[in-house]
Symmetry: C2
Subunit: 260 residues, 2 copies
């Protein structure tokens, strides 16, 4: 039936073998392009509905995230109903008033100017959840670090987000809610953890950099200063080739040689 992608893409995809070789240069560039041009979209949603075949690909991408012990603990709760979305939007508005009050002075003023969600404008909302008991109480790989199943679901979010960027769709992760009340609004039982509430849709444009960076909320950190070697707090040597490569990359980015 070949609904997944066009026949051409299937052929391309089959031509890539599962061996030890890196992807061809063009294919690598595409993966990095998705990673570097992905944005958290709040204000640029267009109302036209998402093609169901495209949405199916996004869910399939999420479903193929890594999951601890292969438990696949996620569900995909699509929110199409206007009523439910209005209820969720009310919860956001209330929580956002509380959030704003936690900042003061200029920060509060700047915060007030941000648009932080597209719940009603995006054609689709999607809540990705975690069922912590999906495969029973003992899970391979979760015996010692109990949060691993939550992390698996976050990997699913990121897979979907990157696939959406490649499909030309914007995704925004809304996190300003009282989680218990969000759970009630969506009928989600207590034992299930909502991981991400996402707004998805076509966008007028993608920003060239994250909006909070552009607005001067916080600067992009120099990545080479976040690297430690062998023990926490121990920087790599200044002439370590990795550090040199990271610095050169930052200079390339500043010179517009690659699009970050």
């Amino acid at each position: 039936m070949a609904v997944f992608l066009t026949d051409k893409v299937i052929a391309l995809s089959q031509a890539l073998s599962y061996d030890d070789h890196p992807f061809a240069a063009e294919a690598r560039a595409a993966v990095y392009q998705a990673i570097f041009s992905r944005r958290d979209v709040r204000g640029q949603f267009q109302p036209d509905p998402i093609d169901d075949t495209v949405l199916a690909r996004l869910l399939m991408a999420a479903h193929h995230a890594p999951s601890v012990g292969f438990m696949q603990p996620w569900n995909f709760l699509l929110v199409r109903s206007g009523d439910v979305r209005r209820r969720v939007h009310d919860l956001f508005a209330e929580a956002n008033d509380e959030a704003r009050a936690q900042f003061s002075g200029e920060r509060r003023e700047l915060y007030s100017r941000f648009k932080l969600e597209g719940i009603l404008e995006a054609p689709l909302n999607l809540c990705i959840t975690c069922d912590r008991e999906r495969t029973g109480p003992v899970v391979l790989g979760r015996t010692h670090i109990k949060t691993m199943d939550l992390y698996s679901c976050v990997c699913a979010v990121q897979n979907l987000w990157l696939a959406a960027r490649a499909e030309g769709l914007g995704v925004g992760w809304v996190s300003i809610f009282d989680p218990a009340r969000l759970q009630t609004a969506l009928g989600i039982p207590e034992r299930i953890v909502p991981i991400a509430y996402l707004c998805i849709g076509r966008v007028s444009h993608f920003h060239d950099r994250p909006e909070l960076e552009k607005a001067g909320w916080l600067p992009r950190l120099p990545v080479d200063e976040l690297v430690y070697l062998d023990q926490w707090g121990q920087p790599a040597a200044d002439d370590d080739p990795l550090i040199a490569a990271l610095r050169a990359m930052r200079q390339d980015a500043a010179a517009g040689l690659w699009p970050v």
Copy 2:
């Protein structure tokens, strides 16, 4: 300087504009190929070192993950030292004995046969951490859901994992440790949360499906059965076009039309 990618790839990358259009078919296929052929690698590592320019790209990919309030709470603790890795491996071995004991009968026997880490064989280990206080106590987007900064770091892990796949490198996430003792072994202070301990390196081959699926530990779930509509537990109609598309995609996969 253009160290990021070859000049050719930079040109390709610049040709992709930041607008509302989807990527070209070939580029979309590459993104899905990374997503669907990514594996949790434990047993196929080759010892040759990772090129520092490639590693720099992986860290840059991780650094461009979404982060709540643009706080970028991650650090990248590279573990090159053999001594430190042996200490970490000892912690794994101890925890894995405890983990095995939690299964019984045939499951325990099957568990015993799994290789679950490549700490000593992979040329590099990397611990990605979360500094919850990086930008002070109040974080935009974390006022109501306190785990958002942890989730940001998981997005960084998944970005790195997909970029590594495109570069032909395998990544394995090891989660069978007493987290407090792992923290001590790496000198990580209490206020910092280790999110993922990764083994990274060139591999002899990538498995065509997840190893736990191949070994019959658990089956791949039918994704269409994980979808709800508007309220938890409410399935979409059987003739919903999204459900039809997901089922058709599963049939395509079973027929080998796309590589999942």
